[in-house]
């Protein structure tokens, strides 16, 4: 059972890493826009000029 003395600090360390990741994400603006990126996947990247012009009149 002595393994517990290593495992628990390890668990807390892992938890701390996840907190740091969370802080980084907040600072990096990952939580600023919770809606836009979900739609971004639907954007069509490979459009040529003529399509773009006809769409921009929408």
């Amino acid at each position: 059972m002595n393994v517990i003395y290593g495992l628990i600090p390890g668990m807390i360390l892992l938890g701390l890493v996840s907190v740091l990741v969370f802080f980084w994400a907040v600072k990096n603006g990952q939580y600023d826009d919770m809606e836009g990126p979900a739609h971004r996947i639907l954007d069509d990247d490979d459009m040529d000029e003529s399509d773009r012009d006809s769409d921009s009149s929408l």
Binding site: I12, F23, M34, E35, G36, D43, R52, S56, L58
Partner: protein, 763 residues
Amino acid sequence: MEPPPGKPADLDQYALQEVQQEFVRELPDGSKQAHLMVEGIHCAACVWLIEKALSGMDGVSRAEVNLVHHRLLLEWRAEQVALPDILKRLAALGYAAVPFNLESVEGKLKQRNRQLLFRMGFAGFGAMNIMWISIALYAGAFSGISSEYRHFFHWVSWAIATPVLLYSGGPIISAALRGLRQGRLGMDLPVAIGALATYSYSLWQTSQGGAHVYFDTVVTFLFVILVGRYLEALARSNASSATLRLLELQPRMATRVTADGEERVAVRKLIAGDRLRVRSGDKVPADGIVLSGDSHTDESMLTGEFRLVHKRVGDRLAGGTVNVEGSLIMQVEQAGSGTVLARIIHLVESAQGSKARVQRLADRIVPWFVAVTLLLSACTFLYWWMHSDFDIALLSATAVLIITCPCALGLATPMAIAVSTGFAARNGVLVRNGEALEGLSGITHVVMDKTGTLTEGRMQVVDIIAADSDRLLKLAGAVERHYSHPLAVAVCASVESAGLCFIDSHDQQLLPGLGVGGRVGDEQGDCEVWVGNEKLMQSVGIEVAAGTREACARIESQMGSAVLVAADGVLLGLLHIEDKLRTGAVDLIASLGRQGIAMTLLTGDSPAAAHYLQQQLPTSVGAPMHVMAGVLPAEKAREVVALQKRGEHVLMVGDGINDAPALAQADISIAMGGGTDVSMECSDIVLMGSDLQKIPWALSLGRRTLRTVRQNLMLSLIYNIILVPAAMAAWVTPVFAALAMPLSSLLVIGNAILIRRHMQGVK
């Protein structure tokens, strides 16, 4: 051909170095970066369109749109593309953008929310990890655990709880201390005492090798409290939406006339004595007098009156009003804080300062609740200390503190308000001040502004009296599209809505106060067109029949404007233009009347116009309704005060700067979305659209919210009434208290979410 263009000239001001330095940042690689607020974004397609269009421009290295906050992050190379060109491309797509300064009030608010998110996240991390330890400890309590491991687990809990208490709980503790020094019993006090007492007791137990360690309680309870606070902060920041400050942020420019010619300068650099040129369509930048020129100005933003005011040499001009006709040269008398506009803003501020805010129900209960809790806890401690030992005394006193956990009480109001404001925002009602929602249910009197609130707030063609109305519209539009007079704008809008195309005209001329003329070539050949009032027709020698004259008189008596159109010396007919009642105005009056709410209509117009308005509205609505005409801005606020003195709870609905003092004075205020920024700035609630039915809807949402808040407070009180005596009798261990506590919080949260379901049936 396209309708009359806007004013792209305004965007050129962003090329000026002194304007740019306020919001543009230079990046290490030499390119420039700016945050912009974009007006007109409403869906994901807008994001796509803007990002595609801008990143396709040469020199733009980055264009990212934030859909929720309507912000655009722009990076560009100044040597390849100029900022005004990027903004013009954006304008061509139909979006207006203004700089967003992160240092502004709003930027600071966002930063504070981010701090709160950090604290909440950290407490959440602590709660999740400490839970594992607790599970091991609880399991150990049932099936046996060696004291060595138990001791180790206690110290691990301590190691997690300490940073959470210091980092996440720090601001709460310092706020409690601050409140204590100022002699206030705030919500923070029992939270701080509960957390600190439980923490200290647990630490003492841990160091003694005892079994009663409740670090998990401290952490979970801080986490739940912070979730409540974060929700509250989120609701608040959603309300102060970006678009509301658009105009305020706009750096305004003026054209100064000097000995060497004309130059563009920032408005705040103007001093008394400067000579300015105010072109047709421009806003008057400061207060002053006309030195030369002859024109009409639109002062509706100050007076609420849509009729234009004639300005000649020597007349006074007020800053913020719009010059609609000819070009004027003016001399500045007052700039900055001395202007009429600044004085109105001052009026607003003083009204806000003097008004007794709607006090939150919870805020009134909290000090008592806190005092009683502390007293009971102290009594429990003393009783058990005298009759039993210190351990039981501290344990039961702590249990009392924890079990009367203000969580449910603390969440009762913010949770209900967060749900309601979020729900309202999705329905086009922006609640800027959440407390206003609770106050809405107590409203006994609604004061409404006429122009822009009950009416559309812009001139519209409501009737065309002519044999060939299409031809009349086409000819009138051809001439009018060169002018920005409200009547001209109404004619052009009507041409567009009739589906007609614009034809061109030449040799246009403007006769101030009379109308406009020009030569138009249509299918029937080149003809001379005159568009204007009766006097214009007389002055150019066109005969007006008696029947037409009568029609004109009738329209004028109803506060409309009659615009006559003639081609080649023959009168074609007339356009009836007026500021129409909004659809829903009649229903609004009727539905408020059904709810037994008294109404007062205020208008800056003449009594005749007010009388005409009254004829259009339902007469017997079941509640008293007054119409007051010829009311000045300061009088509107005074009228509200008079009602308040009679004990009425006043809801003010308005849209203009002239309504601002009254909006600030009223108990609760609602601003129309299309109104001025100042009116929105001092209102509690802003309607995003122009749907007046949202007003009774907001009233019922307010009632629902107050009911939910009351239910929530009842729930938490019942919970306390049952469990506090048990805790005082030392029947309840702090562990059980810690288990019961989140349960009461969940009940409150669940009840708040029910608001949405209750409101579903309400239109």
